[in-house]
């Protein structure tokens, strides 16, 4: 059963990654990142079950905590950018280039 979960995890991770690549709204990009993190969490949890050890769940727990912190800061950054640029598109913040 474990590899079912792993396959699901891989598919969702890839969907998240593709979403990061194709979406321009910074908030949606963030959501896709969250999706990727959740996909890995699923893998961790199913591995924990497979090995009969709680360490995988602990890792998933820490990932959640870090994701929460990341979301807070990331959304604050999005807010700040929106205030100065009146836009939440990641393509509009492209001054740092050649």
């Amino acid at each position: 059963m474990t590899d079912h979960y792993l396959v699901l995890s891989a598919i969702l991770f890839t969907i998240g990654a593709v979403g990061v690549l194709i979406r321009r709204n910074a908030i949606v990009v963030f959501m896709c990142v969250e999706l990727m993190l959740n996909a890995t969490n699923l893998a961790f949890v199913s591995f924990a079950r497979m090995h009969g050890s709680l360490d995988g769940q602990i890792i998933a727990f820490f990932v959640m905590v870090v994701a929460a912190a990341e979301v807070v800061v990331g959304l604050a950054i999005i807010m700040t950018i929106f205030r100065s640029r009146k836009s939440s598109s990641v393509d509009d913040a492209n001054l740092l280039k050649y």
């Binding site: 990654a17 990061v20 690549l21 194709i22 321009r24 990641v90 393509d91 913040a93 492209n94 001054l95 740092l96 280039k97 050649y98």
Partner: protein, 646 residues
Amino acid sequence: MTTMNAALAAGEVVQHPHAATGVLSATWLLIALPLAGAAILLLGGRRTDKWGHLLGTAMSLGAFLVGALAFAAMLGQKGDDRTNLVHLFQYIPAGSLNVDMNLWIDPLSISFVLLITGVGSLIHIYSIGYMAHDPDRRRFFAYLNLFVAAMLLLVLADNYIGLYIGWEGVGLASYLLIGFWQYKPSAATAAKKAFIVNRVGDFGLSVAVMVMFATFGSLSFQNVFGHASEASHGTVTAIGLLLLLGACGKSAQLPLQSWLLDAMEGPTPVSALIHAATMVTAGVYLIVRSHVIFELSPDARLLVTIVGAATLLAGAIIGCAKDDIKKALAGSTMSQIGYMVLAAGLGRPGYVFAIAHLIAHGFFKAGLFLGAGSVMHAMNDDVNMRKYGGLRKYMPITFATFGLGYLAIIGFPGLSGWWTKDGIIDAAFEKGGTSGQILGWLALLGAGITAYYMSRVMFMTFFGEPRWDEDVHPHESPRVMTIPLILLAIGSIAGGAFLIAGDRFANFLAPVVGEPEAGHKLITPYTVIVFALMVVGVGLAYVQYLRRPIPRTAPAGNVATTFARRDLYGDALNESLFMRPGQWLTRLTVYFDNRGVDGLVNGLAAFIGGTSGRVRRVQTGFVRSYALSMFVGAALVVAALFLVRI
């Protein structure tokens, strides 16, 4: 001891110096006095204008006095003890190169000291009058003192480094003096030419010094000469040839002769000093001083004689064609130095005659040059002999002294030149073999030509009808100029006899160059031939320049005359062989630098710049592009992991 035995077996003379005592230990004053004079006059500036010439002359005379006292002290020593060493200071204590600065006082160097300071002092005195109206007289005397000091260091140093310093000092002083009237472009060019041509010779000397250090590990005369016989034949020959190159530069021998004639751009006393007492004699000194090396290498010696013989003929031929009195005399100097180099190359019997001829030449050539200066003074600084004529009535003292110098140089029996030059010719024939014959006959021929061109100078200047410019009013020079002339004339008369008669000089120099061979005959068949050739030369000149009127402008002349007038095409040769290729090489290098090196560098830079300009377009500023590359990278990492693990 084995070293000494080996050296003795090779027939060399090994000098064993001992620490000098008494007056001899004060010989550092020889260099210090004129050097101090130069320093005071140069640093003192215009404050010393009033008495600068007197100080300079006093310093030179003081050095002469010290030299004379040292000479007297040396005469009091026994023959083998006459090599004295005065320790000055430790000059270069650097690892295995350890140079002590000592003065090497032996009969050879003391002879030079007396010549340099004696004739030099007379030229100093003469210059007081000659340069009386020059605003820069003080500077002139400072340079004269510097010249004398450098030359004294050259002949007194006990090692090749000290000799080299003096050598370069002489080059510097000659540059300063030849270009003394630097506002004249010709003088500035001549000074540069002298310096640059001398550099070629200096290069040879410096390489010789390096080779000596590499071979012997030391540069003092004692060590180099003591161990010379241990070095390989090739090394010794190389050193000898390099030393010869140095001597050629300083002594204006072929092929580095071209600077000497142009050096006439300097004031006349400078010419006298360069030609009689300092500078050109340095090459002869170098060869004689290094005779141990030359004696070990017959090849080098042969080349020395060839150079000497070629130069003595070349100088004589150039002297025949010049209408400029100073240039005619300069050609004669080349020729006479050629005799000395020839003699020095001949070996044991020749050294004595080389130095004796050098000293005799110092007297009569200084007299001739100073006499020429006196004549120029009378003729408003005109140097063209075609505008002279009949001056003997107006300048009796100059005429008498110049005439005595003239008789000395052509080898009139009894006068200085006869004693020494004939000795050289005899020595050439005594060398034996075909080469001896050839060298001897060439020297004979040179003697004849010498008589011809010197008679030409004499007749054109002092005899015949006046051909002066209209505003010229000849007059005898002041006493400060004539007294040195008289003293030099006395030297021209008696110097040779004093040195040669009874082998006096040969015995004196014996500790340096070896015992003279017994039984040097004064009159040989060759001396008769020399005399005959001399008479022929004088007669030819008499017919050409006294019986016939001399045109005020030079006739066109034939090919030979043009050849001689153009200094045997020496300058043209240098120009086509070195200057033009050098210029082309420079242009080629510049072109290569601009196009090749710069092109490569700029091209590379442009390539990198262009590539960067294109590659930087990858940095679009779009986060999603970067994310894409990261994702691709992650995919590749995963793929790589699989490839490794599966």
